[in-house]
Each structure stands twice: as C-alpha cells, then as structure tokens.
Symmetry: C2
Subunit: 144 residues, 2 copies
DNA sequence: TATTGTTATACTCTATAACTATA
DNA sequence: TATAGTTATAGAGTATAACAATA
C-alpha cells in the first residue's frame, strides 16, 4: 500500500504523540491520575503558591477546564487552596499529593527513558531541542 | 516559575503535536475538511480500491469511527464506493475529491515546510526519523 | 477596565459493545 | 470463526460565552 503521509513531519508528530499519550494515560491511570492531573500536580509541587490562572498559562489549559480539575484534586486531598488575594487561590500539594507527584515524576522519567531508547542513537539528542522549538514557536498558545 | 516538564520528551511531543494539529485544523478547515478527512482522502487517492478496514489499519482509526466519516465524504461526492466483495467496498476519489485531495496535499506540504523551518538547522534532518521510530515502535497501534 | 474563578454548554476525537451480513 | 461495515453510546479533551467578585 502506498503511504503518502509517512514523509510528513506533521503526520509523524501526531502519530508519535498519540502513541505516547496512550501509553502515558495507562501509566498515570495506574496511579489514579489523568495525564492532565499529573502535569498539574507536578507543576504545583515545583511552584507552591501558584494560582490556577498561572497553571493555565504554563500548561496551555483553559481556565474553564482547570476549575473542575482542581476541584477534583482538592476533593481527593492532593492539593490545598489558600486565599492569596480576594480573587485567587495559592495552590500547594498536600503530603499525599507530594507522594503522588513524586510517583508521577518517576513514571514520567521512566516513560521518557523508554522513548529515547526507541529513537536511533544518532537522532536521540536532537529530539527534545527540535520539539521544544516547535511548540515554543507556536503563536496560538500565547493568547488565552 | 519552575518548569519541571520542559525537559521531558513526552511533554514536548504533546505540546508540539497540539500546536501543529491546531494549525492543521485551521488550514484544512479552510478547505472544508477535518484533519481526519484530509488524511483519509489523501490515502484513498494514493490507493484506489482500498477498503474502509484497510484505511483504518493504515491510519489507526477505529472502524466504528470510519463509517460516518466515509458517509460524510460520500454524501459530498468526494469519494465513491463500489462493492468489492459482499462485505466490503472499494473506495476511490471522485473528480471533485481528486482536486480537494491535491489541495490537501499542497496544504500539508506547506505546513511541513513551515514546521521544518522552525526547527534549528542542526536538528532538522533528525526529526522525521526520530518521530517515525517512535510511532512505528508502538505496540498498541498494531491491534485493532 | 482587566483579572480570577466558576458554570453551562457544545464540539471533536476516540473507544467499546453489539449487531448484520458475508467470507 | 473471522472479517466488514454499521449503530449507539460514553468518555475525555477542549473551546466559547457569560457571570460574580475583586484588582
């Protein structure tokens, strides 16, 4: 069968990302986390006191979608909120959240090692710089 | 702000793919196509007589989701179906479909050039081989 | 006026289960 | 038994609009 798509970087990018995300969903699911929850948890852990809006800007998530996500994690006592000003909350991980965030980080690192192991050695060091350039150059992610 | 995710290949892969797909959706939308429809159209064009199931295996789409997609494109007279055996149809692009497929291919090539232009020159040639290795190595895509 | 958090809502993509007709 | 196509359905991700409270 002819495959007119296999020489397209964009197509390979989508397929690689889908495969990786499916694998990641399985790994984080084993911890009781969605992938979005895992990234949020890791980012709060690294930035205690961060607000929901700052999280949204960092992760490219809409505020409207962050609200129920944080609510779920607060209900599970993984994250605690404290008023920072009248509008916003400062977020921090609880003890349970700290443990889970550490596990999520470990899982992420494991997956990353696995991904890099699949990439032929001569291409390996180029992947992260190339991908970082692609998403940092994106215009649409800057506006909310 | 600390960013514990930016050194993860998996995270960069997801962000780069999201940005690319958003851009692609805009470009294909201008042609009246969804991204999935565009890829299907290009693949049928390159493989006249292909069945829906073969398309599904090539593109990693579920049969259940292919049915309404093909139905839409048949209703728009972009694709024609003819019985190949009692179970399956052979698919082919119509004249209108051929034109639209050519436009979709042009749009894809344009985007790809733009993507590669963003990647620093020393990393450029490594991107497609690295991504191809990643999604071709994926286990879950082989089973339907 | 702009920002934060929230609710409601809708659209797309994707996945599974169940069914029929055929090989 | 396995495969092709179909339908119904549900989950997840994501987007916009509108609102109240606050800066």
């Amino acid at each position: 069968m002819k495959d007119p798509l296999s020489d397209l970087v964009g197509y390979a990018l989508r397929r690689a990302s889908s495969a990786m995300m499916e694998d990641m969903a399985k790994r984080m699911g084993a911890l009781g986390l969605r992938t979005s929850e895992a990234s949020v948890l890791m980012l709060i852990r690294a930035n205690p006191g961060i607000t929901q809006s700052d999280l949204c800007r960092a992760l490219g998530i809409q505020r409207a979608n962050m609200a129920p996500l944080i609510a779920r994690m607060e209900a599970r006592k993984l994250v605690a909120r404290s008023r920072s000003d009248g509008r916003s909350f400062g977020l921090a991980v609880t003890e349970a959240g700290e443990e889970l965030a550490a596990s999520a980080r470990r899982v992420s690192d494991e997956q990353d090692s696995g991904l890099l192991a699949i990439v032929p050695p001569e291409h390996r060091a180029h992947l992260l710089p190339a991908l970082s350039a692609l998403w940092r150059a994106d215009q649409s992610s800057s506006g909310q």
